[in-house]
């Protein structure tokens, strides 16, 4: 169960012709998740800044 199913990097990327499908899906998936996390983090940072400014001025 724990042997590598492929023998070299080229095989991993190619996956017997199916590589483009598999990797494009995972690339999109990973990038969507990463981008949503960064958007969420930016939003929190922005809100926190705003609230700090508000509290400092009031």
């Amino acid at each position: 169960m724990f042997d590598l199913a492929f023998s070299n990097l080229h095989e991993i990327l190619d996956m017997n012709g199916h590589g483009i499908y598999v990797w494009s899906v995972y690339a999109l998936g990973i990038s969507m998740i990463v981008i949503s996390f960064s958007i969420a983090k930016k939003r929190i940072a922005g809100i926190q800044k705003k609230i700090k400014i508000n509290n400092a001025s009031s």
Binding site: I12, N16, V22, Y26, A40
Partner: protein, 243 residues
């Protein structure tokens, strides 16, 4: 008495405090399990006898469609809490969860579509499951658009909750009717290895990916809901200690 209990534990303040503690745990667990599941599935699991290597999309596709529906059910429970017990936090959670649900539904549709190219030779098929997932995606868009159209946020919260509850009642109706419709035309067949059971060497990475994606999405939801809570409650005193 129930309503007092609910109101004690569902204030935005206690939610923010609780999630602040849980977030590091969830994100680490989620990302590591997801990475483990995907590396195992992509590199170590054996080739499928029928589909070759394209079946490896399953480790993203199946978790995505599972959570596409689970997130909607979560939103429905929150909508119920908002409408019946007037829990404000529940509406904030719906608003935070909807874009995540839409994204994961889109991922499910996209991954399934790409998987279909080597498997069925076509990137789209009008069968029951695919069509109901597409309609689910439209329902998420409806919820997001509805809340965004109203400047009176309290009104928007209530309308959004009504739409979510009607939508969740609609999900089984759509599944049954699209299933009935597609069996009138052609049978749907999505199988991994021609049989109905899945080999353990593929099942374990799949389960790990599902749990990993779940915790990752929960962490994303925590981040998203915290920022929304800060936006909505920014004039309250307790906010200052959390910023």
């Amino acid at each position: 008495m129930i309503s007092a209990f609910i109101h004690k534990f569902s204030s935005p303040k206690s939610y923010v405090r609780l999630t602040e503690k849980l977030y590091p745990f969830f994100i680490v667990l989620g990302v590591s399990l997801l990475t483990l599941g995907w590396i195992w599935g992509l590199l170590f699991a054996p080739q499928d006898a029928v589909q070759g290597n394209s079946y490896r999309i399953i480790f993203l596709h199946v978790p995505s469609v599972i959570f596409a529906e689970l997130i909607y059910f979560f939103m429905a429970i929150c909508a119920l809490m908002h409408l019946v017990w007037r829990v404000k936090l529940a509406a904030y959670l719906i608003k935070a969860a909807a874009p995540i649900g839409a994204m994961i539904t889109f991922l499910g549709l996209f991954s399934g579509s790409i998987w279909g190219i080597p498997t069925w030779g076509t990137w789209w098929q009008w069968d029951a499951r695919i069509t109901s997932t597409l309609i689910l995606f439209i329902m998420y868009l409806g919820v997001i658009t509805l809340h965004g159209s109203f400047s009176n946020l309290i009104k928007a919260d209530r309308l959004m909750s009504i739409l979510v509850i009607i939508g969740v009642i609609n999900i089984p109706i759509i599944k049954k009717s699209v299933d009935w419709w597609s069996t009138l035309h052609q049978p749907a067949s999505i199988s991994i290895s021609g049989g109905s059971s899945i080999d353990p060497s593929m099942l374990y990475p799949l389960l790990i990916s599902i749990i990993g994606l779940g915790f990752t999405l929960i962490s994303l939801g925590i981040l998203s809901s915290r920022s929304y809570i800060f936006t909505r409650e920014k004039n309250k005193k307790w906010i200052a200690e959390h910023v």
